[in-house]
């Protein structure tokens, strides 16, 4: 039942007038880029001041659907930081488990999109097909494929009973095998390498100047990862590597994400094994929070999610500031897109993995030929891949 039919057109919403990225071109080379956001602006910080802490957890989950557990984890870290609250060990393993599973599903999602943008629709279908077992694991543990509602201040909401672990380990093994196959297919393909190597380079200095985070920064040689810099939950208790590469091009960003999936599978396995025997409750019930301020962060699939909370002793935040990783990563497109051919524009913009809940995927190109839309960019991108394939395979 493998699919070869390609949906026509951009499959991200393309409102005709909405302009998100405006690319200025000279001939077929991109000279400048202008970003317009606000189509998703829902006023989270405003609403959060009118909700209790527990209600805010559900609210911040809905900032983004793909990294829907990163925001709650960062938020509960911030509230726990006000009074230095400790969480029980079982809760720590469960939080890390959910967070890493989310990283796997998010990177697979990105892999599929990247494949679609360069014309490898089979990669898209396979990557998304093997997301499904991960979403099944989520449904078993939390009750929902997305928007889990698992986090609470002081712990987690639901437990993973020891008898549930063996079937989860089996599903994980399936995902690991398939990931291996997909990774080898991507790495061994000469067309993919030619297509993506040296494209859309973000230099190390630019990554530092823009304060980039996540795989976007790590592919450019900036070795930052909240999981190692400030290990919370169970990150200090499990073994894993931080993947850092040097070239900063789209190929490196792809490799960073693929290798991170492999590391995440290791972490998930370790957490599931420990959950078979770790003792204790899953929630340290926090009855009140004193007046003060707290900073919480978490390494989401796209980078560091930052939450700041100011409290006044009541059960509502006085001020809640949210900063998603795409907020600092998207402006780096201005640096990585300068001077690249138009056919590479789409994959370069997609390589920072803009969490498109803060963005629209409508791209307008402004040049002498008038205004063109994203669907033309996708076509240009696929045509380039075809050309390279003919050159390499003859």
């Amino acid at each position: 039942m493998s699919k070869t039919v390609v949906p026509v057109g951009p499959f991200h919403p393309l409102l005709e007038e909405a302009e998100f990225f405006r690319l200025h071109v000279d001939g077929e080379t991109v000279t400048d880029i202008d970003v317009d956001i606000g189509y998703m602006h829902r006023g989270h910080e405003f609403i959060s001041e009118r909700k209790t802490f527990t209600q805010s957890i559900f609210l911040v989950e809905r900032i983004c659907g793909i990294c829907s557990t990163s925001h709650p984890i960062a938020f509960v870290h911030a509230v726990e930081d006000v009074d230095d609250v400790d969480i029980p060990i079982r809760a720590a393993y469960i939080r890390t488990l959910i967070g890493e599973l989310e990283r796997i599903h998010s990177h697979l999602l990105w892999l599929g999109l990247a494949g679609h943008f360069i014309g490898y629709d089979t990669l898209w279908m396979w990557a998304w097909r093997y997301r499904e077992p991960i979403l099944e694991i989520f449904e078993t543990i939390t009750g929902n494929r997305n928007h889990y509602g698992m986090m609470r201040v002081g712990g987690v909401a639901r437990d993973v009973p020891p008898e549930a672990v063996p079937p989860l380990l089996e599903t994980l093994e399936l995902v690991e095998r398939k990931m291996d196959m997909i990774a080898k297919a991507a790495a061994d393909d000469p067309v993919l390498r030619t297509r993506l190597k040296g494209v859309g380079v973000l230099s190390r200095q630019a990554a530092v100047d823009y304060c980039a985070v996540g795989p976007t920064a790590r592919a450019s040689g900036v070795a930052i990862d909240v999981r190692k810099d400030e290990p919370k939950d169970a990150y200090g208790l499990v073994d894993f590597k931080v993947i850092v590469l040097e070239n900063g091009d789209v190929y490196d960003k792809l490799v960073v994400r693929i290798l991170e999936i492999v590391e995440s599978v290791k972490i998930v396995r370790q957490c599931l094994e420990r959950l078979k025997t770790a003792p204790g409750p899953i929630l340290n019930d926090v009855k009140e929070t004193s007046a003060g301020e707290g900073i919480g962060r978490y390494e989401a699939p796209r980078g560091e999610v930052f939450h700041y909370v100011r409290t006044d002793g009541s059960n509502r935040p006085l001020r809640h500031k949210v900063r998603a990783p795409s907020y600092v990563n998207i402006p780096t497109c201005a640096a990585s897109c300068k001077g690249i051919p138009l056919a590479d524009a789409l994959i370069t913009l997609a390589s920072v993995d803009p969490c498109y809940c803060c963005t629209e995927r409508a791209i307008h190109i402004v040049g002498e030929g008038g205004v063109r839309a994203q669907v033309d960019l996708a076509q240009l991108s696929r045509q380039k891949t075809e050309r390279l394939r003919r050159e390499i395979h003859g």
Binding site: C211, D229, Y308, R310, V328
Partner: protein, 143 residues
């Protein structure tokens, strides 16, 4: 936190009221010393700007910068308080840190603070908006 003293060496006389917690240091800075402090943290010590948050309090509008020192996982947060609520103005740090451009545009939009020296002070979230909200996060509140 003995390390705190070495970290902020060179900024004597510029650091006001300080609050220290595990891994976090919040300190007040006068508006005129902001650029020196930011240069010390970003260029001198290699910190990364995570974000900046603004808040309206009874004593004025507070802008709190969050600098992350990734090598140690600690946060250094200079705080600036603007007492003029009718026409709040302060120098922009975007000429020093490119990553601060969007952050300051957003604070400007939501709180009405003018950042002098910002390369492109356009609205960020409500450009081309049919009826843009007027400084929606400005509300009188008890601190």
């Amino acid at each position: 936190m003995a390390e705190r003293n070495h970290f902020l060496d060179g900024l004597e006389g510029k650091i006001g009221r300080t609050a220290a917690k595990k891994g976090r240091l919040y300190f007040e800075v006068a508006v005129k010393d902001l650029h020196d402090v930011v240069r010390h943290l970003f260029l001198g010590q290699g910190c990364r700007l995570s974000t900046a948050s603004a808040m309206e309090m009874r004593r004025g509008l507070e802008v709190l910068y969050h600098f992350s020192h990734d090598a140690t996982g600690r946060y250094y947060c200079p705080r600036v308080v603007l007492t003029d609520l009718e026409d709040p103005k302060m120098p922009s740090i975007a000429p020093i840190i490119k990553g601060a451009e969007w952050i300051e545009r957003e604070i400007s939009e939501l709180f009405g603070i003018v950042f002098e020296g910002h390369p492109w002070p356009e609205r960020l979230l409500t450009r081309d908006h049919p009826h843009p909200p007027d400084r929606p996060l400005r509300l009188r509140r008890k601190p």
